[in-house]
């Protein structure tokens, strides 16, 4: 039995790997855009523009109040009827992960920037740095240590949340697993393998986040 289970896993590995590649692609794109959007959010939120802050606050609260799965359905069902726009479910998932992730990373970046001493900004401005120079050379590099550990944590959440894409029909790793189960009825084995897959991807990231947080706690 044990060997047949092992053989089955070997046989189905290509199909699972195909699904896993989709999962990782969605997650990686989500992380990339979440990071870019998050840094933009953090910079905009620390400019001190009142109107801009209200807009960002509304964006943040909408993504905090409405669960990601609901956003997934809103985009998946909503884009076609509201904007006559039909995008593949893969890109729906990337879009939602990016927007949600950007709100999460954005709050982290904003917090890290806000925690820097005011003198840093003032000193930068007084030597005549332009806005992008101030952020690019002075503020963001200093905030980097503070924002990296929590951002890595958000990455693990993005990877875990990417699993929801199966519910709008993306053929990612869970769907691949379900297709194999339909053929073989080996649900314990396959779901066990899926468990392991996500754990192997996420655990090193959460461990790294913890180590970095401890190491940089005092600097």
């Amino acid at each position: 039995m044990a060997s047949s289970g092992f053989e089955l896993l070997l046989q189905t590995l290509p199909q699972l790997a195909g699904g896993a590649a989709q999962t990782l692609a969605i997650s990686a794109l989500g992380m990339l855009f979440a990071t870019l959007g998050g840094v933009l959010y953090g910079v905009l939120a620390t400019l001190g523009n009142r109107a801009l802050n209200i807009v960002l606050q509304v964006y943040l609260e909408l993504f905090r109040a409405i669960p990601v799965l609901v956003w997934l359905y809103l985009v998946f069902f909503g884009l076609p009827i509201f904007f006559a726009l039909s995008i593949p479910s893969f890109w729906c998932a990337v879009l939602v992960l990016a927007l949600w992730g950007a709100s999460e990373v954005g709050e982290v970046v904003r917090g890290a920037l806000a925690s820097l001493p005011r003198g840093q900004r003032e000193a930068g401005l007084s030597i005549g740095l332009a806005g992008w120079q101030l952020y690019g050379y002075v503020l963001l590099p200093q905030a980097l240590k503070r924002m990296t550990p929590p951002t890595i944590n958000i990455y693990t959440r993005i990877i875990k949340t990417s699993s929801l894409a199966v519910l709008i029909g993306v053929v990612e790793v869970i769907k691949a697993g379900q297709q194999i189960i339909e053929r073989t009825y080996e649900s314990v084995l396959i779901y066990g393998a899926l468990f392991l897959f996500f754990f192997i991807v996420c655990y090193p990231l959460s461990a790294a986040s913890r180590v970095l947080e401890r190491r940089w706690a005092h600097s």
Binding site: R64, L74, F198
Partner: protein
């Protein structure tokens, strides 16, 4: 495009029931998670031999895998081992599995955040271990972990939408059902969005308020 108000009104009783299911799953899961977390955090803090390692392993496993996989495992894989359970039970069991791990971490962090000097001064004025726990450690740890606990409660409540995947008739499942039956996508998405904002936004704003208040409290010490 106009909203079919009459249709929305006709679905309201069903959505009211769905909100009930969402709250039911969420509140039960919060209560059971808290129970699991209290036991686990005690085992962790006391370093109970062997058991604390087991707790650590459980916390890492539950926190590093998606709720959806955990849910599918309980709902689809356990029956083939002879354990057949309803969608509702699967939802509560899975959310307790995940929530218990998150809350364990919160409580542990809260207990560890109490300054050691507090324990030492408690001992030095002759408090027994029990008194130390009751009067010094737990009250302070409780306050320290309150915002994180509250944040996790809201998180768990929002995660109930995921259990729609195993046909638990909560708000998202009800929405999908109506869309599939009547193609009233526009109306149903509007109702779903409004429900989420009504249910979760006040909680999220309250959390922000509590966090700010407690921060002021801590500066006062």
């Amino acid at each position: 495009m106009t909203l079919d108000i009459a249709f929305i009104l006709s679905t309201l009783p069903a959505f009211l029931k769905a909100v009930g299911v969402t709250l039911q799953v969420g509140l039960i899961a919060i209560a059971t998670s808290l129970l699991v977390a209290l036991v686990n955090a005690t085992l962790l803090v006391l370093r109970t031999p062997y058991l604390w390692r087991l707790v650590k392993a459980y916390v890492e496993l539950a926190r590093n895998t998606p709720l959806l996989i955990q849910l599918f495992f309980v709902y689809f894989a356990l029956p083939s081992l002879g354990l057949k359970i309803s969608g509702f039970s699967a939802a509560v069991i899975t959310m307790t599995f995940m929530g218990g791990a998150y809350l364990t971490e919160v409580l542990r962090a809260g207990i560890e955040a109490v300054p050691r000097a507090q324990l030492e001064s408690g001992r030095s004025i002759g408090l027994s271990e029990g008194q130390l726990l009751r009067h010094v450690l737990l009250p302070q740890a409780g306050i320290l972990s309150l915002p994180a606990l509250f944040a996790n409660f809201i998180f768990l409540l929002k995660e109930t939408t995921v259990v729609s995947a195993v046909a638990v008739p909560e708000i998202l499942y009800t929405t999908k059902n109506y869309i599939a039956l009547y193609y009233k996508t526009y109306e149903m998405l509007t109702v779903l969005t409004l429900l989420c904002v009504l249910l979760f936004l006040p909680l999220s704003l309250l959390l922000r308020y509590v966090e700010r208040r407690l921060q002021h409290g801590q500066f006062g010490i």
